[in-house]
């Protein structure tokens, strides 16, 4: 996975609260058993008028936001369905970071697992951001605004790590846990 260290890019504003994963990738756009081929269906309900004719009013279709790599939004971004296809679609489109007031829990974790940085900032701080935004994950700053991120999530993103391989480094602890637990709760095995 591509590490996320620093990134400067065009930030497209989508200032609504509660943008759910059904909006980010409608179920009808999930057409194959795959993590790819999803970006053309991203925001399909708003991005196109009919079929695949672009809706000129939609932010990502406006000339000034072509090649946006950062998305700005309101509260509870990515709420709703757990479908990781929402993150895969955003990633394939080229987004590296989402900056919002708050996030849906599963969506937030899905971002981290896929190398997209979810940044939680106050509405006031987001309001000050311009068309070009710089993010420094090591320093935990968006332009001049500091942000919080869990240590574990930061580490995964900075290093672009494969979480399964990382976890399997704890093999001895895992084997010991399950061996003890099978004695403690045998009915679950």
């Amino acid at each position: 996975m591509t590490p996320f260290i620093k990134h400067t890019g065009i930030a497209a504003p989508l200032f609504r609260d509660n943008i759910d994963t059904d909006q980010i990738i409608p179920s009808r756009e999930m057409k194959s058993v795959s993590k790819t081929g999803l970006s053309s269906g991203m925001f399909a309900g708003q991005r196109y008028i009919t079929g695949r004719t672009p809706n000129p009013d939609f932010v990502l279709n406006r000339p000034e936001y072509q090649n946006a790599t950062i998305l700005l939004s309101g509260a509870n971004f990515g709420c709703g369905s757990s479908r990781e296809h929402a993150v895969w679609a955003l990633k394939e489109y080229g987004f590296r970071a989402i900056i919002a007031q708050s996030f849906g829990e599963i969506f937030y974790n899905n971002c981290v697992r896929n190398g997209i940085l979810p940044v939680q900032l106050s509405a006031d701080a987001i309001d000050t951001l311009g068309r070009e935004v710089s993010i420094d994950l090591a320093a935990q700053k968006v332009d001049a605004h500091p942000f919080d991120i869990a240590k574990g999530d930061k580490y995964m993103l900075l290093n672009g790590l494969d979480p399964i391989a990382l976890t399997l480094k704890n093999e001895d602890d895992i084997v010991a846990y399950f061996s003890d637990d099978a004695e403690r709760r045998p009915w679950l095995y």
């Binding site: 609504r16 609260d17 509660n18 759910d20 059904d22 909006q23 409608p26 179920s27 009808r28 999930m30 057409k31 194959s32 058993v33 795959s34 993590k35 309900g45 509260a75 509870n76 709420c79 709703g80 369905s81 757990s82 479908r83 990781e84 296809h85 993150v87 708050s102 849906g104 829990e105 599963i106 937030y108 974790n109 899905n110 697992r113 896929n114 869990a150 240590k151 574990g152 999530d153 930061k154 580490y155 979480p163 399964i164 990382l166 976890t167 399997l168 704890n170 602890d173 895992i174 846990y177 399950f178 637990d181 709760r185 045998p186 009915w187 679950l188 095995y189």
Partner: protein
Amino acid sequence: MYMTQTLFDKLWENHRVKSLDNGQDLIAIDRVFLHERTGSVALQSLLDAGYAPRFPSRVFCTMDHIVSTHSARGKDSSRTPDGDVFITATREAAKTAGINLIDVLDADQGIVHVISPELGIVQPGLTLVCPDSHTCSQGALGALAWGIGSTDAEHAMATGCLRVKKPPQMRIEITGQLRDGVTAKDLALHIIKTLGAAGAKRCAVEYCGSAVRALSVEQRLTLCNMAVEFAAFTAIIAPDDKVAIYLNGREYAPDDAAWPAAQSYWKSLNSDADAVYDYAHTLDASDVAPTVTWGTNPAQAIALSDHVPAKSDENAKALDYMGLAGEQSLTDLSISGAFIGSCTNARLSDLRAAASILDGNHVADGVTAICVPGSMSVRRAAEAEGIDEIFKTAGFEWGAAGCAFCFYAGGETFAPGSRVISSTNRNFEGRQGPGVRTHLASPAIVAASAIAGKIAAPETSS
């Protein structure tokens, strides 16, 4: 010093393999559940990466999201155009991986959160994850159950664990008792409306109090189901005798030999009296009325006797989408669709409640009414009681188990712009189809509204 613990703390400790040095814990996962929509890609991707499930016997997979829900469906029939590829790919990957597969035409097939309790797969005190946001439903049995993404499902299968930062905790006590005619669905909508669509602040929510204790296991599943709709990490209810009685004899529940040990463990699963939570709310059950949503998130709800709020900058988009002006009553709004189904409200008690209202009545002209039981087992039990005949005589379609019209997947649905009363969990724009206006409500309100041809409380239609 003795530290008091919540139920959630206890389950977290029980499953903590180790604390990682990055603020996360490595948490052991007892059960992974998959379905063909998001589990398929997890399973395939796991196998492609050269991993195998560590404990295949602890992984379960059903077909529910995009299977056809027509009674005469075939083994690969999908309600999504070209959706059969998800079904066949999931079946093949499940066989290769050697996990438990509950296939389309199996007697036990149904919606994951309906069949997991039915088969005794979820039990008090275990950890269960599924790449599905409504996995929080299963906290109703005292399990630590939460929704994850597909990548985490791969991780849970390959390692038997997940890397998770312990979430904050919220206690929601519901005092008193629900009034007659008020259901767990009304309670869930009332809580979300009171606290807001992001009101649970990514917390593990523990529901407690006299009104929660009084709920049946099926009603608790409805209450916990909607926790994700106000941004909870999950919800949990301390297990009691009702849960033990519910699970006794079910296929994957502890057998007679293991029962006493399991019981003794289950009885230890409750919060200490003075346990500390990050947030606490107390709501009075007698304040809960039959509740229906008017907007495009589940917090945009009102008691059926109230009026929709006045139009404002904040709600204008939702009101416009729903074809409402604001400051109006929901009752008397004409509907063209009624749906009873989903992991929220498609269990036997839900169908009984709707049938008691439908019995001897017929849906109004112009209303497309559909009932899809949550599992084939629910469907058979309903048929044994003659409930299917009541639905069919009333003019409802009677389907085979699956998620069905809870979300639009590209196939059959209600017409654009139509107003639908639905026992489901999400009223997002386009959730049930392009332009479809969804009002969430209990099965009783859906049934009463179908008969009246307009949104109606059960009392006023009989």
